[in-house]
């Protein structure tokens, strides 16, 4: 998948995410690739991080900008910004049975 296709796929993911989180809003993509996530209470900007920063994505809200190291991280930041009731749940993996247990 080319970088621009990935950006488009992220736009689709963010739009689907708003639906899943039951947040009214929209996602718009500019020619330069910047994504605008707009809800009743928030306006967020999502863009690729500059190459000299240790992030992959940047999330802007007003004057404030923060980095995200992955799509997962970006999704968490976006949700935290638009969904006041969001309480992330950490994945838990059950313990492995000992070798040879059968």
């Amino acid at each position: 998948m080319s970088p621009s296709m990935l950006d488009e796929a992220v736009a689709v993911l963010l739009a689907r995410s708003l639906e899943t989180w039951r947040i009214d809003g929209s996602v718009r993509r500019e020619v330069d690739g910047t994504l605008h996530v707009t809800t009743a209470a928030k306006h967020l900007r999502v863009s690729r991080a500059p190459a000299d920063l240790p992030f992959r994505w940047m999330l802007g809200e007003g004057e404030r900008t923060r980095g995200a190291t992955s799509i997962s991280s970006l999704l968490r930041h976006v949700r935290a910004a638009v969904d006041p009731g969001y309480r992330p749940v950490r994945l838990r993996i059950a313990p492995l049975p000992p070798p040879g247990a059968s």
């Binding site: 796929a9 993911l13 639906e19 994945l91």
Partner: protein, 342 residues
């Protein structure tokens, strides 16, 4: 490993009758039963007469509310007594929950206790459904919907009392959980060989059982984009499958599970699947999770058939297939992009 099965179903749906009959069957000897009754004075345990080789232990209180410590302690205790010869050397455990129990915390307790994981393997969730009143119960009691949604097997009880057919109920059950096998029991009579054979622990041990455990083909991105939503009161419960032709990198799978736990939490009632992991093309991984708690992947010795597609079956509340598709697509793309960096 000792298989441990969960028997649940709404109040009056015939769990105890079913269990009482099963325990009299020679093929079901050597069974330890943990009965959870809600209220200080329980009755269910008095209705069950185990054989000499089986025994029943009782828990009071709502199992799903006090579950973690209580159930783990009870299981550890009966295993200790078995080891010390204080009770018969049982070969399986059945946990009968109260009719009001949410099965998810019970499954969490079974999956997440390190001491128990060494000795016990989940042998499936069997849910009894009253053929006469089941439809009404599903319409009125959200607990019963959740019980059906997490089932590996559904047992239709009291079919002898049916005046008409059960078509409408069966359609409702299929809409809620198309992956579950449906059996019928009249007066609790059912062949024990038909029960407790569809759980993840069983399936992970036998490649041939995987297709059965995953259930019939469900709508996937090839065929539909809206999942398999149950109608009426259960419109929030969705069941759908995600298929992938190309192998999935292990890190992508991990990121997907993390994101599902993160954003769906308790709404992810069940996720099970067989995955073609890119790093292990000859040995597929079987995954199984309830809400945010997952078993470690079980690696099959070989593919159960020529079909090497990854297949993930979701049962959830308000989880949209299109969102999961978009999430997996983006995770695959990002992991690919990072891997391709010089």
């Amino acid at each position: 490993m000792i298989p441990v099965a969960v028997l649940t179903g709404f109040l009056g749906s015939g769990k105890t009758t079913l269990l009482a009959r099963l325990l009299r069957h020679p093929d079901f000897a050597r069974t330890a039963v943990i009965i959870n009754e809600f209220g200080e004075v329980g009755l269910d345990h008095d209705l069950i007469e185990p054989s000499e080789e089986s025994f029943v232990t009782l828990q009071t209180g709502c199992l799903c509310c006090t579950i973690r410590g209580d159930l783990a302690r009870t299981l550890a205790d009966i295993l200790r007594r078995r080891d010390q010869g204080e009770v018969a050397a049982f070969e399986r455990i059945v946990i009968e929950t109260s009719g009001l129990a949410d099965p998810a915390p019970i499954l969490h307790a079974l999956m997440s206790d390190a001491g128990l994981a060494e000795r016990l393997a989940l042998a499936g969730v069997v849910v009894t459904v009253d053929a006469v009143n089941g439809l009404d119960t599903l319409g009125r009691q959200p607990e019963s919907v959740k019980q059906v949604a997490v089932a590996d097997q559904l047992v239709l009880t009291k079919t002898d009392l049916l005046e008409g057919g059960a078509d409408e109920l069966l359609a409702r059950l299929s809409a809620l959980n198309p992956a579950a096998r449906v059996e019928q029991a009249s007066f609790g009579a059912i062949d024990p060989a038909q029960l407790f054979t569809a759980g993840p622990g069983v399936a992970a041990g036998k490649a041939a059982d995987i297709a059965d455990w995953l259930g019939p083909d469900l709508p996937s991105d090839d065929h539909a984009h809206h999942g398999h939503a149950a109608g009426g009161h259960d419109a929030q419960i969705t069941c759908f499958a995600i298929l992938r032709e190309e192998p999935i990198r292990a890190v992508t799978l991990t990121l997907l599970l993390e994101a599902l736990a993160d954003h769906c939490g308790a709404d992810l009632l069940r996720l099970k699947g067989i995955v073609n992991v890119a790093e292990s093309p000859e040995r597929p991984a079987v995954i199984h999770g309830v809400q945010h708690v997952f078993h470690p992947p079980a690696w099959l010795e070989r593919w159960p058939s020529k079909d090497r597609r990854s297949r993930l079956v979701f049962i959830g509340r308000g989880i949209r297939q299109a969102w999961v598709e978009a999430l997996l697509t983006v995770l695959e793309a990002e992991v690919g992009e990072v891997a391709a960096r010089p």
